[in-house]
Symmetry: C2
DNA sequence: CTCTACCCATAGACTTTCTAGGGAGGAAGG
DNA sequence: CCTTCCTCCCTAGAAAGTCTATGGGTAGAG
């Protein structure tokens, strides 16, 4: 209870995990590290959120898994996107930017998207 | 069930309601209309989400209410921000833009905030 | 051998949102 | 008058996602 820490992922966790896996197949732990490092630790991915999310998405056929060996020589479950997952990622990304834009307008600021 | 409609407010409802009330005291129905109109109906505020949110925030002393008469000559409960609510609004707004920025970075685009 | 980092997983609590109701009153048109 | 629409309020219960709190196992460093 020491730090307040930015608590919520607010429904964007799936999208970010899919994005990570779109870059390359990876295991859960690596996905969490990738997101945390990519945001200077602003977004902290709790394992209690991450693994249920992965299982959820696998049930929905957005990703598939396979046991393998990690770089550090440990047992790890590697996930990769399915075609369906890729479509979902695109849809969610578009919806999120639209949503964020709308919230921005309401909150009195403007959001701008620039191509990667 | 006809339209898929952007389903989630993802924790931003309180913030937007506070923003609306920061502009001027208003009743729930008007707040909902304000948000919907301000976003071209992209963000639809369901009453089943709105009223619980208002009561929640009142319990937390972010807003206070008073019964009054609406423009259309109807009984309406007017809400206005407390000092605490104003602080909460500022904090939530800052946190949201920070969060949205971080998500944007992860998703491969950049978000820019412009002053009102 | 011990400790740390890596890697997986689940249960239960908590919160928020939605669906699906219900109700009452003013206004407007027939 | 009567019916219908819009305004305005409210709640219960389901559904979903995240967090806290645990638990366990293994490789490698010191």
């Amino acid at each position: 209870m020491a730090k307040p820490r930015l608590e919520l992922l607010r429904g964007t966790l799936d999208m970010m995990v899919l994005k990570a896996l779109a870059l390359e197949p990876a295991h859960g732990y690596a996905v969490a590290r990738w997101i945390e490092e990519g945001t200077d630790d602003l977004l902290r991915i709790e394992e209690g959120s991450l693994y249920p999310a992965l299982h959820r998405m696998e049930r929905r056929r957005w990703i598939v898994s396979e046991w393998g060996q990690s770089e550090n020589n440990r047992r790890a479950k590697y996930y990769r996107l399915t075609d369906e997952g890729r479509k979902k990622l695109e849809a969610e990304t578009a919806a999120w930017f639209k949503f964020a834009e709308a919230v921005s307008v309401v909150m009195g600021s403007k959001l701008q998207e620039t191509p990667q």
